[in-house]
């Protein structure tokens, strides 16, 4: 329960005079009589109770009613809101197949999954029952439904990798048929097809995957049949249609080996890279690039040849309510996987017809030897404050935005930078405009609930004037990488709408909190109990008056 005006609890001090006055008047005049026999006889004949209701006890009852009156009226003043949580059952399934044993940044995927699962358990409202299961070809419930979070956490801690593999689609179907619980799956393999089929199944994405393609096995063969040291990389995809990826082997950021892979009808490909003789110490990384995003029909897909209605844009810095609706955005062509994109993030191609560009490091790196990580904290500097894109955007208090090194496009200007690295770039050339977001809104501490949608709205507003023009940019493919950002559980991109409502406190949290749209937390309308308490208070007051008058009359 929340209180809108908790300061009104101070009115509870009114209880002190109520109690004080009560105890002042409580002692009744004591009269000693030879026997109360006659008095009892009288009361009995008059059918009056004595010793209970109607005498001394009535005083106490009146007192309690008075105290209740004060409490209920104060409770009304503090404006209590009953937050209606959920009573749902959630099944947590943790993938324990062989691929989950692979390390990423000194941590196995399973550890990441367990960590995420524990975070999730902590996050769940009390009242939600949790069941834990592991999946390694078939799923096995290791913790039946419980509302004891500690039990669930303990069960999660106990999970170990099994080394088996399994058909995830079948699992999904069987679970879907067997249970009506909300299901959260912690896995490195995300079957989009299942996601579309079974709407109440949600997925938690963690490192090592871009949603469709994942490196599931990485093996260093020091003595290959050819007598050389090789690296074997297994890449899996769940896409049904043609998917081309580029797998690079990098040493110190330089591509040493590169190979394009086409999956075709297969879901798994294994590549073997021969290591250079001078690089035997194996310090480097393997990355995959979704070539679909780079090359596949990009022009048609992101062409803005339609109206983008921006329903509301904040016009002053004093924001009272901001709603950005992009629900009329229509995509001319979709990507082969047909995922729903709401706000477009771009493809940095030569001669782009797309306007919004989101650039940040690719996430599906898998380190096979530890590498240095982290970006030192640098001050975020707003270079071009008056630019319409930055209107009402707040950067204060943001820790990190994780920008990537980027080559500044021709004629583009830096609007915001962190150190020397540009964060937001906007520019024009002869054929059109371009905006580059050189940071990951998902990973960063950028305010996703308010600033991010406003930023997108500003960008669209700014770009739409010249949406049909062609922008020529230099080829950025060697320095920037792309991925989707449609994480519905993070910044509220759900379906085709973005909502920001500052009047609702719960929905206007500007920190990077994963609160809304989470499984098991069915947000219902909060109930304002103010009126209930106030009415109860007045009813009690009336009852007290009647009792008092009744007592006097007697």
């Amino acid at each position: 329960m929340d209180f809108i005006s908790p300061v009104n609890f101070l009115f509870l001090v009114l209880l002190i005079p109520v109690i004080f006055l009560f105890f002042l008047k409580l002692p009744l005049p004591k009269i000693k009589v030879d026997s109360i026999f006659i008095f009892k006889k009288y009361l009995k004949r008059e059918k009056l109770n004595y010793g209970g209701w109607g005498s001394g006890s009535k005083k106490w009852i009146l007192f309690f009613v008075q105290v209740l009156v004060v409490i209920t009226l104060v409770a009304g003043l503090v404006h209590p809101l009953l937050k209606r949580g959920c009573g749902k059952n959630v099944l947590l399934i943790i993938d324990t197949t062989a691929s989950m044993s692979i390390s990423y940044k000194n941590e196995t995927r399973l550890s990441s999954a367990k960590k995420k699962a524990l975070e999730y358990v902590n996050f769940i409202d009390s009242g939600t029952k949790i069941s834990v299961a592991e999946f390694n070809g078939f799923y096995k419930i290791i913790q039946p439904l419980t509302d004891n979070k500690n039990l669930a956490k303990h069960s999660i801690d106990q999970i170990i990798p099994t080394g088996f593999s399994g058909d995830f689609d079948k699992l999904m179907k069987s679970i879907y048929l067997q249970t009506d619980m909300d299901i959260v799956i912690f896995t490195d393999n995300i079957p989009n097809s299942v996601k579309q089929k079974y709407k109440n199944i949600h997925y938690e994405i963690f490192n090592g995957s871009d949603g469709n393609i994942a490196i599931t096995n990485l093996y260093v063969k020091r003595d290959s049949p050819a007598g050389k040291t090789e690296i074997e990389v297994t890449v899996e995809t769940d896409m049904k249609t043609l998917n081309i990826i580029q797998v690079d082997l990098l040493y110190a950021g330089t591509i040493a080996r590169s190979s394009n892979v086409s999956f075709g009808s297969d879901k798994q490909r294994t590549l073997i890279f021969e290591l250079l003789p001078e690089k035997q110490n194996l310090v480097g990384e393997v990355r995959i690039i979704n070539k679909d995003a780079l090359e596949f029909d990009n022009r048609a897909y992101f062409k803005f040849d339609y109206e983008i209605p921006v329903v509301l844009k904040c016009e002053s810095k004093e924001i009272t309510k901001a709603v950005i609706a992009c629900d009329n955005v229509k995509v001319v062509k979709r990507t082969p996987e047909k995922t729903d994109l709401v706000v477009t993030y771009g493809l940095p191609m030569n001669q782009l017809s797309i306007n919004v560009l989101s650039i940040y490091p690719v996430e599906n790196h898998v380190n096979f030897v530890s590498t240095e990580e982290g970006v030192s904290k640098k001050r975020i500097e707003i270079v071009y404050q008056a630019h319409p894109i930055l209107e009402n955007i707040n950067f204060s208090g943001i820790d990190r935005l994780y920008p990537a090194n980027i080559t500044l496009p021709e004629k583009a200007i830096v609007l915001v930078k962190e150190g020397n690295i540009p964060l937001i770039i906007a520019g024009e050339n002869n054929s059109g405009k371009i905006v580059v977001l050189n940071f990951d809104p998902v990973k960063s501490g950028f305010y996703k609930r308010i600033s991010f949608p406003i930023l997108i709205a500003n960008i669209i507003e700014w770009l739409r004037e010249d949406s049909n023009r062609i922008v020529n940019t230099e080829d950025l493919r060697n320095s920037v990488f792309y991925r989707k950002t449609d994480f519905p559980d993070i910044y509220g991109l759900n379906g085709e709408k973005i909502y920001v409502n500052l009047l609702d406190r719960a929905e206007s949290i500007t920190k990077n909190e994963k609160k809304s749209e989470r499984i098991g937390i069915k947000r219902k309308k909060n109930i304002d109990l103010t009126h209930i308490f106030v009415i109860t208070g007045f009813v009690l007051m009336l009852a007290e008056s009647i009792l008092f008058y009744h007592g006097k009359k007697k």
């Binding site: 009744l28 009269i31 009589v33 030879d34 026997s35 009892k40 006889k41 009056l48």
Partner: protein, 292 residues
């Protein structure tokens, strides 16, 4: 509570000299007394004639009848005996309430009755009771026992609740002879008084009830919410009362007792402790004379 009382006020004792307790019924006493007995005996009071039968004393042959009717008739006379006067004195805690204690009043009344009874050769039994028999003596006769009775009355300690029936029924089982039962009590018995009085009547006693009422309760103080403390039980009663209604209730209670006594031929003497004691005693005996 124990207050020594001087029962030897010579002036008052003088007044009592010529008094005696009159009964409506005749009782058969165990000892010789001044009252007519149910049996025939050798008193001066003529009872009847009966035919002579061998062995009869010739002194009782009525020679005049023999001369006139030629029949030998013998005169018989009533016997004279005493009666038992049993004093049931309430010694519950409520009896010692206030300055004008009911207990003292009761003891004085009992002392007077005992004195008169013993003076008239009657036997006096005493039963002090509260929630049971506190102390009891079987009926004694003879003036020499007066001091003993006074000593008992002076040793009264008030304690406990009132349970009239239990005490009376226990006591009357121990005595054989009937007589007058004088109950001196405030009659604050939650179990009621009727049962005990009925038992006395059924046993053949002539019952006198002296209902003592305290003049110490200040009813003016009782208005609306009060906390009443029972001197007998220590119980508290929180009540919303009207003094007039309580007084009415008390009157109703007395009337109820009066009506019950009237219908059962019980002599009922309600008295407040503020009423002069000697006057009440004289009133009591006057009643007996008129009733007799």
């Amino acid at each position: 509570m124990n207050h020594e009382i001087d029962f030897y006020d010579p002036d008052f004792l003088d007044k009592l000299k010529d008094l005696h307790i009159v009964t409506r019924k005749l009782f058969q006493g165990r000892f010789k007394g001044k009252r007519r007995s149910l049996k025939r005996g050798l008193s001066l009071e003529f009872a009847d004639y009966r035919k002579y039968s061998p062995g009869d004393d010739f002194r009782f042959v009525d020679w005049n009848i023999l001369a006139r009717l030629k029949k030998i008739m013998v005169r018989s006379f009533w016997d004279e005996s005493n009666i038992n006067i049993i004093l049931f004195i309430d010694v519950s805690k409520s009896m010692c309430f206030g300055d004008l204690s009911k207990s003292i009043y009761a003891r004085k009344v009992a002392a007077c009755l005992s004195s008169v009874a013993l003076e008239n050769h009657d036997s006096v039994g005493i039963c002090l009771f509260s929630d049971g028999i506190a102390r009891a003596i079987s009926p004694v006769h003879g003036s020499n026992n007066l001091l003993k009775i006074f000593a008992i009355l002076n040793s009264i300690k008030t304690d406990g609740k009132t349970n009239i029936h239990l005490s009376i029924s226990q006591y009357i089982k121990t005595i054989k002879d009937k007589g007058i039962a004088v109950v001196i009590s405030d009659l604050f018995d939650s179990d009621g008084y009727k049962k005990s009085f009925a038992e006395l009547i059924n046993k053949g006693f002539e019952v006198n009830v002296i209902h003592l009422k305290s003049g110490n309760v200040d009813y003016d103080k009782i208005s609306h919410n009060v906390c009443l403390e029972d001197s007998e039980t220590g119980e508290y009663l929180h009540a919303d009362l009207d003094s007039d209604q309580v007084i009415d209730e008390e009157k109703k209670y007395c009337n109820e007792i009066r009506m019950y006594c009237l219908s059962n031929q019980i002599a009922y003497f309600p008295v407040e402790t503020s009423y002069p004691f000697d006057k009440f005693v004289l009133d009591y005996f006057k009643y007996h004379i008129t009733a007799g």
